[in-house]
Assembly symmetry: D4
Homo-oligomer: 250 residues x 8
């Protein structure tokens, strides 16, 4: 239930088109719905302007299905992240109308198409192997309603590949800079653009890379002022941060 | 040299009030000025909308004075962070018109008062001991031109202290949430507000706190979607990130 | 052999109903029974009021069966934790009367139903994925004889989900607060209730979460005074700690 | 303001001895008092049965004095932990009636003597150098009203030193086991007693001891079921945990 | 080739029973034999009194077979550690006369029975799951010629299980104390006996146990003077250290 | 496209044998070719004298094939590192003329044989299990055109195995010293030779070895002046570093 | 009280030269003496053959004096390690007959000269800066009664400095190998000698050396079989380990 | 004694100008001179082409003076690194002709001016605060005889500051790239030049920077092929590595 649908409902009540009882029933789930093993935060869309997103990885298919049905039952779009191909196959059987995007590992079910929002986000990666994290961010942003510009494999070891994108990046409202290995990309991007830069370290690398801790430390200690960081491989978090930033734009 | 002053200069050239030669001389320092031991990025104000800020801690007083004079000589405001009281005393003797703020440890020299900018930032701390980091953020924001709302000692162990500020926080455009110890504050704040939340871990704590690594990890692994993180004690970085976010607001 | 059964035996000896020889034989196993590869601590029930619990994970099925038979042979209830479904299948064939609880991964064999004990324990989780750890704690408590109140998916990012449980928690004697990700839940719970709070970090998370080290550090550095911590995923340990605390209650 | 004083006040109102206005004024500070840089949680005593304790280490003397005066002004006892001798000297000049205990580094001001509470706590250390942490715990417990039994230098390398205390420990309601170096003490104590054992790692040690992380890990991974852990050197936290545990005892 | 066989060969030369040429040929392999991918140190037995032992884990079956044949060809006994059951099956087909011990994961081929050596070694474990490491140590010691006394599952949480072994341990010349979880066993053993104590941390545990780093730190920071430590799970290293210690005994 | 082929092309243009249009077409790909998911740096060979090498491990077979075809289409030799046997099988079907070297896990496709370059590189390993990393380095060097001398299993525990190679090493221009376990080899080699020594830690080891961090730390803190280090298992990086060093030799 | 003095006392009782009462009084202190803040283990000398040694670093001068007097009062030699020069000055005033050795930082008071014991220990260091740790080991060994051979600054970067000592080391019964920086020395020494090698990492180094963790890891993961390790800078522990090893020698 | 002086001496012997006895005396110190606490490696200059350099930090002034005199006595130039200003003052009094360079913290005594060697080294820093490490490298290179080009404060956050130096860097034979904070500089430099790049992480930074571990990890996991790394703040090591690389150049 997002703000638009809430207003619609209340207008209908005011106009006598919907009875108080029915409106109450519709709103009863708020602030959350208790499934026993999960409490679904239906009014997050209302409170924060982004839908409740389900982190699929640690949940069983049965848990996901139950949560998904509760969300869809309220008329909200469904977004499940970190769904393995195997789990996706099981879920697609249970959830009519759902679709699975293999590169982002996102399973979604769009009850209604997301309304377009102001603000374009550039999603840039250092390497080819960082693309799944980038696609997670891009797909989440698409479902929220933002335009996305993708620029992949722009690592700083071949600087011209990044410098060529300078004008493109400068024209965006937020840049999400994604890098594994040593994670130097956001430092350089942060110096090239004036808009907010959200850095995402990835687990792509080996040895001293420590599963992504090395680029994470790189990004947190950046000499590029004002670059902010989210958790390793957290494309979803970067997208939501971008949506929070752009929420005030018209 | 910020955008306003640049435009003024170019208008003057267009109007014949300033000769091309003089304008060239004024702009010659761009893109940076080489002091031998430092390259001052005078046009960062132009490129990114925030002044070049000097990290005072690892520099000698002599280095700071030289850099400060080069900045002031171009008509820019000066902002030096992490200046110890001892070092401040030495610098105040050398830099006429400078002032030192002990709680934020910032030394500044305002050639002209900062122009007010749209966007209010809430600076919230979990404890009393996190205040120096908060003041660093607040003072940097003030010098950039943003309004700041301070709410200190709102840690989650006494939740009512934070919940009382809910309306205040909801009315701001960005929240900077600062916490040492276990660093849980930004997770809770992230659930209360819809605007961007910048989390700053601090080095206040002991034992398993690991000099701030524990709250840093807490903040990076937050279950509050879209909360972003900067380095430990990096009040300055949080302020610049807020300024980048608010740059697009009118 | 617990205290009640010991007293019963000794009374029977005093009353002449059991010969000294038979009593000796019954007690001979004390203080422990040596199986060669394991020394079973039969009198722990006597000494500490909780049965000897077998950590199933690193043991072979053959080892578990041998230990289980020795425990049951003395008339004690059996409790094996961290049993994988595969291993459980093998054990159920060998141990008549045993039952396996998939969500807690506990295999138990109740020779006699556990006597009810004073003291109710609330088991609270931050997320849905923390439930297996919670169920391990709850099942161990049930077998010791304590009442358990479950409240799952109450993470601090949607604070109202937790605040709604405030009265329930306040009515309990001990709270076990279980959280993965950033582990902020016990800090907030610790501020809401006056009873002992046992924090359990879980391995649910990724990246900077470090397999549970991040929430563990969070909980150890909590600003909520008097919150205590057990090892990552150690639902069993939290339950025994609760039982130790409640042992003095009548 | 603790529960007893609250009831007294309300009785006086009921009896007409105190006007509603005066009672309101007395209660107005609740739930907390805002000093600008600190929010003092006066009703924690009410909520949790333990007084608000000030962590002295990271605060300036001026901050401590202001907080102390606000606490004392409400008739509550004052307890400041981790006060260095230098800072103590400054505070004793400002706070009439305060006393400083050098071995526990606690500064206290007892407006009224703490009422005795049921429950005795054993405070045991592995070495001589762990005594300051033990004294912090013991002094906090004394000010809350619990009896304390001290047993110091009982490390496991000379096991007879610990085994001699077995009967003493068995007679207590809670054991706080404090150890630096390898931190093995709580594992052994946990096997000797049936009551709750709170383990406190200390920063006493060197090399692989890692400032207390080694004994902390030791204690968290203990094979002694039900031993719980607090942060390194956190004698205060252990004492509050013990007080929470004993709160239900009569 | 060990010292006894060398002396025998030289005596035969002196007696004219073996020609210089044949002796030279026999000794030619010294100091090592180059297989291209491996250099086998045949005279280590001579230099150090222990046979060259092959670490089987990271090597391919083909590499092990080639090395094994070179060792056996010189008349030395073969000892391969850390051989998985699968790899063992393949090796047993290729190496006539070899035998595989599943609990220690050692594959051996005894050309001649090991000569008995002075000195008995106690191998003690804290838990049942530490047995594979203990068996690795015990089997290596057996093949070197030392008597071994096994005492398993003597963890410090049930101290009587260890104290019962005090006389047995006191009668041995070296104690190898093996423990996972918190690794407290060697600290206690070190206080009970006067002989050398070699501590072996194991990877048995979870969470804060960090794959064995926690007990390793425990053992290195022990307050039991003179306890020495080898790498995690390194039963082999502990056995060789014991053999070095006992080498001087008659 | 390397420098030789570039000069040839330009000479042909100068001689009229190739039209400007054709030359332009040939050079058009510079500075990189955009495949959407990857930007291939064709002129790296020109800029740095080494071909673009593809890190195969984190890429899908489809991505590798697409990149490989783009490289080969320009007439460059192809070199893909860290290709698993399974992936290799798939790639060999798609890429005519490719060959796979199992011990180095390198897949290559030589359009033209590499031209010999001045400078011999010694590749030395401490153990047999370090050979795959060594072969990666050796194979990359061979494809660049350098002579390679292999010396394997020369660990410092049997020093004579290394000292025997002293003259061989002294005759080389660069030594790549590769070691897992404790990683002491480069320290000793660094003292034996005067030429550059590139140290490569490997992931061969267990326990305190920490996946290669231990030998990496060993090598970085070496007392052998001038030894330099690359990432764990990074045979490729060591080879390129050697090639950079030898680039100036004639 | 060591074994010799005990036998002497009992013989005197048997001969009627000492009354039972006097003997009882002399032995009453056993097994330990309780000073309140310390429990002195007087019969450790009896149990383990080495005197009780006081770790001076974390104790106050007053604590050391009290413990020292209790030890000397029983006729035992006193040995205090890690005494800073400042603390030593204070102690020398209080303890008649004590002497302080600045290089080992040991304060000792020899009631009677240590009896010579069989077994010579080589103490070898990699660098000049490791000498204080070496001297701590050497001085402890001297006070126990063992001969010590010192060989300093034999690091592996200049291998000939170590190889020159090969015969000397081979003639010793135990080698203590001490190294900071990368800690490679014990690996090489372990391959040169057949006797026990005790490795001591030191805190001499910087950067990736991590306060001694790097050489500690090096030593624990050594490929030199049978090398054992003690804590960083723990010269004392190495000496006691050597004494334990040599205890069985005649 | 370097190669030139050795040849000169031998020529003089051949010519009869120097007697064998005198030559023997001159060479007697080889291979090292034993001062008891130090073994000076006089022929390292011969073996490796670089003088023995003394690491001043962990040594006492008396030790440095003794070593210095032994080096100068043989006619070699003296180079002591990491000398604090205080220590320098003491040393300058003792060592005639010595000079101290405060920015590099190097104390040197040039018996004869260093002969010029082929090869220019660029020393580049990311920030102003990295200069002391850079100066250590530059001064060591100067004393070995190489030309040095300094480029300071070229961090990647203001990329134009670095790109401006591209031609300068391309004209050098080796680049030493020094950076604290996130350490991204060498990754970018590695992509700009074809010559060897030696990366030096520095301890300049705070928080997640971990005393230099963060930039060290960054540099080791660089995506810029062939960049090599030395220890944190190890300007000296980088210089010697550069000298090893350039040794083969004419």
């Amino acid at each position: 239930m997002d703000e638009a649908r809430l207003r619609e409902l209340l207008d209908a009540v005011a106009a006598g088109a919907v009875s108080s009882d029915d409106a109450t029933r519709a709103l009863r789930g708020l602030p959350y719905e208790d499934l026993g093993f999960a409490r679904i935060d239906h009014h997050r869309a209302l409170r924060q302007g982004v839908p409740e997103v389900v982190l699929g990885e640690p949940k069983t298919p049965a848990q996901i299905v139950a949560i998904a049905r509760a969300i869809v039952a309220r008329g909200d779009n469904l977004l499940v992240t970190r769904v393995s191909p195997d789990k996706a196959r099981a879920l697609l059987c249970e959830l009519d109308g759902a679709r699975y995007d293999e590169s982002s590992r996102i399973l979604s079910l769009e009850v209604s198409p997301p309304a377009a929002r102001a603000g374009t986000v550039a999603v840039v990666t250092a390497g080819t192997s960082d693309i799944p994290v980038a696609e997670e961010a891009a797909e989440v942003l698409r479902l929220i309603g933002h335009a996305v510009v993708r620029r992949y494999d722009c690592g700083v070891a071949g600087l011209h590949r990044l410098l060529d994108q300078r004008d493109t990046l400068a024209a965006c409202d937020v840049v999400i800079a994604i890098a594994g290995m040593e994670g130097a990309l956001p430092s350089v991007v942060g110096g090239l653009v004036a808009c907010p830069v959200i850095a995402v370290p990835t687990s792509v690398g080996y040895g001293a890379h420590l599963g992504g801790l090395a680029p994470m430390m790189t990004m947190l200690t950046t000499c590029s002022a004002g670059v902010v960081v989210v958790n390793i491989d957290n494309g979803f978090g970067a997208a939501i941060a971008a949506a929070r930033i752009l929420r005030g734009r018209s």
